[in-house]
Symmetry: C2
Subunit: 113 residues, 2 copies
């Protein structure tokens, strides 16, 4: 079994820190961003994130599945098809993603301006 960074049994008292235990990783945020509009299969996800290796994407998806952020659906076809989708918990992070997107837009204007 490889390392799976799942949430600790005892959550931090600070809610901001609690959130960080689930989405304190860059890749996790990008997966959430790309699955927000609907399910994607593994290779689509890898392409849309860009610059992530197969191994790391697999690791992150496994951890996210263990944390209840995504579901993994395997279709018994050849070649195999595996789809990842956000759970309700995963979708519930939308406000955080939206705040990050909005801030990023403002920052880019600020820098460009």
């Amino acid at each position: 079994m490889t390392h799976q960074r799942t949430v600790p049994a005892e959550l931090p008292s600070c809610p901001v820190e609690t959130t960080l235990t689930l989405i304190g990783n860059k890749w996790v945020v990008l997966v959430l961003r790309d699955l927000a509009d609907g399910a994607l299969r593994f290779s689509q996800l890898q392409r849309s994130i860009g610059g992530i290796s197969q191994k790391v994407l697999t690791q992150q998806l496994r951890a996210m599945e263990a944390n209840g952020l995504v579901t993994r659906t395997v279709y018994a076809e050849v070649p195999p098809r595996v789809e990842y989708a956000l759970t309700e918990l995963g979708h519930s992070l939308k406000p955080v993603l939206d705040a990050m997107r909005e801030w990023g837009e403002g920052y880019k204007k600020h820098v460009a301006g």
Copy 2:
């Protein structure tokens, strides 16, 4: 010169990713959280974050200063006093922090319930 994780010259096209280049690090988020209510000196910050070494806190603060998120004010006293405070840019991240805090609160209730 040690590694300073400053924002790259060319920002990612995705605004979410842009935000991650500035606050994609757990420690940075915790510093923002603790300076939100006002300036703190180095040792206060280290205590309030908890579990961060002197070296790492120094590194993070230097990077945040280079990125324009915090200011560093040295008072010519003995023993020395150094205060860190959020810049306007640092304060502008409040909505992101708030979204994280709110989500963390909901998540804790969800887990506890």
